[in-house]
Amino acid sequence: MTAMETGMVSNRYSVSRPFTSGRESCSGMASVQLSEAEKVYILHGIQDDLRVDGRGCEDYRCIEVETDVVSNTTGSARVKIGHTDVLVGVKAEMGIPKLGSPGEGYVEFFVDCSANATPEFEGRGGEELGTEIANVLYKIFDNKSSLNLKSLCIQPREHCWVLYIDVLLLECGGNLFDTISIAVKAALFNARIPKVRVLEDEEGAKDFELSDDPYDCMRLNVTNVPCIVTLSRIGHRHVVDATLQEEACSLASVLVSVTSKGVLTCMRKLGRGSLDPESIFEMIECRHKILRQFLGAIPAFWVQGKGATRGETSTQVPNFTHSSLFKDKYMHLHTQPYSAVCMSLSRESTAI
């Protein structure tokens, strides 16, 4: 075994390497300090497929999704996985289409790392992590199928909807990327973009008419919006949904974004270690198992839910009553007992 493998890949001996300070990648920003004994404990547990909180290597923690939480936004969602808490708001504003794609709207991401999550984010401390997450989000949406941008176009070359997606980190408990991607998907599902009619008079002057009725809106098809699965390499195995402690033990992880059909839309290696090619292939293969476990529960709501079943991208939602629009939707995906995902959907229909 070369020095490289012992030091960086197997992690077995990596505990003696200094882990602290310096620019750690992404989740390392909000890292915890662990003693060597703690690291060895976590490492040995993972080798036996039993993690500190009782999960197996490929089990998620309980995922809580809550939509329609901020009234000022077009769509919003809050997602909690363990101690990770993320709030996402989508705001639709009118803008000018980009030159390269005159017939499409576009999406802008901004990630705000609030100092509530960790004191390291104070001032400009969270900026680097924020831009990194935003870049990953741009990347997973950088293909034709994940979001139909054509439906956001109002008038080619002139007007389109711009979706500003703001991510707010409220608490960091590991696995930021996965949590954020679920929250973005939920917020896009929740988004209701008002319908616009373009009126043209005899001289060719154009005028816009926004519908007075708040229920006359279009919704986005989020079936193909990918979710991120981060697989952290710890010891000779990989784990999903790593906690902060586990992330501190991992030198390299692979971020895979998958759609509900199992198509990869983005893949990245994170962290400063290197990986064996075979282990990367193993991780890519593993997505199917995770998809069954965790994405399987979500589309049940997001695909068969009110918005998306009505066919294509931007269908009008007819007869949308007040009560069903402003329902407080609260979804609870629970991994009981850390293996089977069951979903309970409580819909309190409090009519406004």
């Binding site: 070369t2 020095a3 490289m4 493998e5 960086m8 890949v9 390497r17 200094p18 602290t20 300070s21 310096g22 620019r23 990648s25 030159l99 390269g100 831009t131 990194e132 870049n135 741009y138 990347k139 950088d142 293909n143 034709k144 199928s145 390299a252 692979v254 199992g262 198509v263 990869l264 839309t265 983005c266 893949m267 990245r268 290696k269 994170l270 962290g271 400063r272 270690g273 290197s274 990986l275 064996d276 090619p277 990367i280 292939f281 890519i284 293969e285």
Partner: protein, 241 residues
């Protein structure tokens, strides 16, 4: 209002002329010709110049120089303003990708309280700028005499509209669809960097990564050779007799 005499103002509804520039349908020869040279900047600790097809990358390494804390690898990757057609700036956070690819190759623990600065500049971009910058940067690090586990060799690949995999794609091919950039430590057979974009169905991603790794293995001896040459240039011939 007086017209602005300093600039020619186009009609109100004007578009960038670049929108109407036809894309060249050039197809890259495979494999693209590579030129590598290490140690060409006299003032930097180490430097390298790498050319592949029309893509040209210059990289300089400064250090190790004193800095508090653990050793840091400070990487910056820029595209020259004239590197490609159209007003395109550098891709976001390219330096971070470069850093991630190199960190696994450099023995940072051997340089406590020091900092290594890596500056890579893409002079001309005809596809594969990022992977070439990774190769150039590891060549420059080796030229600077920094202790490393292995050279990090970058490789790129894109999938054409017909689904065929094209190693070392041109910039026009890169824009068309899915791409993979990978950096490999060939002697150790370890992947130190991986960026994949676009849609990959089924096992096509695995296949692409394997093909990419083959490309890296082919580039490796070229880099080694240029390092040997640079070292020979630095060390004078031993006097015979």
């Amino acid at each position: 209002m007086a017209p602005d005499s300093r600039r020619v103002r186009g009609p109100e509804e004007s578009q960038s002329p670049l929108l109407y520039v036809p894309c060249s349908e050039a197809v890259a020869e495979v494999p693209r010709a590579v030129f590598a040279r290490a140690g060409l900047l006299s003032q930097a600790s180490g430097s390298a110049y790498l050319e592949m097809g029309g893509t040209k990358v210059l990289c300089a390494v400064w250090g190790p120089r004193g800095a508090p804390g653990r050793c840091r690898l400070q990487c910056e990757l820029r595209w020259a303003p004239f590197s490609r057609r159209g007003p395109r700036s550098s891709p976001r956070q390219a330096g971070l990708l470069l850093q991630e690819s190199l960190e696994a190759a450099v023995r940072l623990e051997r340089y406590p309280r020091a900092e290594l600065a890596v500056w890579a500049l893409v002079l001309e971009e005809r596809g594969c700028g990022l992977p070439l910058a990774v190769s150039a940067a590891s060549l420059a690090l080796a030229d600077a005499g920094i202790e490393m586990y292995d050279l990090a060799v970058g490789g790129g690949l894109s999938r054409g509209p017909g689904g065929q995999l094209q190693p070392d794609p041109l910039d026009t091919e890169e824009e068309s669809g899915a791409t993979v950039y990978l950096s490999l430590l060939p002697a150790l057979n370890q992947v130190s960097g991986l960026v994949c974009s676009g849609e990959w169905e089924g096992d096509s991603a695995v296949e692409a990564i394997k093909l990419c790794m083959e490309g890296c293995q082919r580039l490796y001896p070229v880099l080694q050779q240029s390092l040997v040459k640079a070292t020979k240039r630095k060390i004078p011939e031993p006097q015979s007799g």
